[in-house]
Amino acid sequence: MSRSPMEGLKVKLHDMSLRDGMHAKREQIPVAKMVEIAKGLDAAGVPFLQVTHGAGLGGNSIQHGRALASNAEYISAVAGVVKQATISVLLIPGLGTMKELQEAYDCGARSVHVATHCTEADTSPQHIAFARKLGMDTSGFLMMSHLNTPEGLVEQARLMESYGANTVYVTDSAGAMLTHEVTEVFTRLRDALRPETEIGFHGHHNLGLGIANSIAAIGAGASRIDASLAGLGAGAGNAPIEVLAAVCDRMGIVTGSDTFALMDLAEDVVVPMMDHVVRADREALTLGFAGVYSTFLLPAKRAGARFGIPARDILVELGRKKMIGGQEDMIQDTAMTMARERGLPVDVA
């Protein structure tokens, strides 16, 4: 076998189990379970752990579901037990606000993903600047990145860099990006952004490419990768962190994390707590295939069951209507409209 071309590259893993993983658990992870998982990740040497409601700060809502505990309770509990890891949060402008970011900071968060749709970076300057003012590690997070061109993503990344982001993420929220597309985008980003600005990738496993795309990103200059234990996350989940760590080990990519410890945590703690097997089932695969926001999976299954419409049909229609992250209300709306068109009753409980 020839030597790995990525030998010696360094990457910072950012665990999503306690944020994106909340989606897969319908926001119902108990504080004690978060603490247990966070302790394990911290001991395994994972440098960043994201902890919030699945939709981030301000996420507790009818639209996005109500979590078992408040963001402040989750963040404080986890921040109180980690020794080396940095606690991060997600903030989507239009949902979360600077007041909530201040509160998260006060609870111990020191890193933030400020997330916008991949064409709307200019809704984030206030929040990025405020995060930097607090001294937080600040990532701009370009969601649904398959819906923009490589040139467009570069332009949006430059905006976030100009607002003060020290990292810019390409966020494949629909798990729809193909590996050659990831390589092209990261090559261009590495070329266009300042050398000190890091670039990162957040994948979803809907087409089974979570690991391959993460490795492609690293090969083209990414130094941060989001992943989660056993893939616990929206849709078919994120890149499974224990698999990613193992592949990195084999390729000589330095993560600083203990792969066996991550394997144990995934197998012994996270898989047993899953409500459903997080995998590319028919509907999750549809997300990647049709380019639909991964978080729509479970609400589409619920609406489908209530109104008698196959969830796959609803997801395809949402993709056709170009609905984006945050428009979860349009799932029920679309299901009701489709039911009416099919002559099904909409007045059902």
Partner: protein
């Protein structure tokens, strides 16, 4: 018949759309448009329509306020500059209709509380936000039947209809709208979410209103109240339309709306512009009618020391 002479401050999407509505008013006459960019499309359109224009901000307007008899000004700038604009124009006795999320003056959603404001002589009235104008009538309609413990609204806006001011200040939009859901809509607690969608062709403005009511929802009464309120809003925004609902699940009421605009400035997808500018014009007309019939007199306000 005499018309009340008005100035438009801000030459962006909202200010320009509002100009077209004021040009049709029987009691308001747009006389000035104020911008900060000489190349702005809004100033160009205003000049074409015969308005006087300045690109020197509100200070470019102030020397002309008395000579041109300006009595009402609409502020479509941003929350950050509104306070200063308001202070300067109130000092000259000009009533401000505030379309920024600054929310200094009383909040107004015409079908909910314009009548209640008619007995007052405020110097500034705030129009909250496009999402507030689109959703608070429904919260109030549900609240007219049963106590609303919690109301949550989601506004989906087309990317092309959202100007730089709104983009850079989404938190103000969130805070002001959430507060108004409580203060004007009557919900015990309110929460507002905004999503900017770049789909092309652009999506028509969508609004979803969730209300959690105290006790079991009275379906028939809530449905009747919501439908009646939609008819009220349609009087000044004809493209305000029920798409789905009211839907009942436990104590939750869900109403799914669409707002198409008149296409005065931006195309019809930008119903968010129309519902804001139509509400502002309707509010200003109510005050204009009172100025004209002598039941309301504007006073110059001493600048605060």
């Amino acid at each position: 018949m005499r018309k009340i002479r008005c100035a438009l401050i801000g030459s962006g999407n909202i200010g320009t759309d509002l100009m077209f509505k004021l040009l049709r008013s029987e009691v308001l006459e747009p006389v000035w448009m104020v911008g900060i960019d000489p190349a702005s499309d809004g100033l160009k359109r205003a000049a074409e329509k015969g308005l006087k224009v300045t690109h020197e901000g509100v200070d470019g307007l102030l020397p002309h306020v008395e000579a041109d008899g300006i009595e009402i000004a609409f502020d479509a700038t941003s929350a950050y500059v509104h306070a200063e604009n308001s202070r300067k124009l109130n000092a000259l006795g000009v009533l401000m209709i505030d379309l920024t999320p600054a929310a200094i003056g009383p909040l107004c959603v015409p079908p909910v509380n314009l009548a209640a404001l008619s007995g007052q002589v405020p110097m500034s009235v705030n129009m909250i936000s496009c999402a507030g104008q689109a959703t608070i009538p429904i919260v109030a309609a549900v609240g007219a039947v049963q106590t609303v413990d919690y109301a949550e609204i989601i506004a989906s806006l087309s990317s092309k209809s959202i100007g730089p001011g709104t983009r850079a200040n989404l938190d103000e939009f969130t805070y002001t709208t959430s507060n108004a859901i409580e203060k004007v809509g009557g919900a015990r607690r309110g929460k507002a979410l905004a999503i900017i969608n770049p789909a092309d062709p652009p999506m028509i403005m969508r609004n979803t209103i969730y209300c959690e009511v105290a006790g079991t929802p009275d379906r028939a009464a809530i449905t009747a109240s919501v439908l009646a309120m939609i008819a009220e809003v349609q009087k000044y925004v004809p493209g305000y339309r029920l798409v789905n609902g009211p839907d009942f699940e436990g104590n939750r009421v869900a109403v799914f709306l669409e707002v198409a605009g008149l296409g005065d400035y931006l195309p019809t997808y930008a119903g968010n512009l129309d519902i804001m500018t139509a509400a502002a014009a309707r509010t200003a007309e109510m005050f204009a009618e009172r100025i004209l019939d002598g039941s309301m007199q504007l006073k110059k306000m001493e600048p605060a020391q």
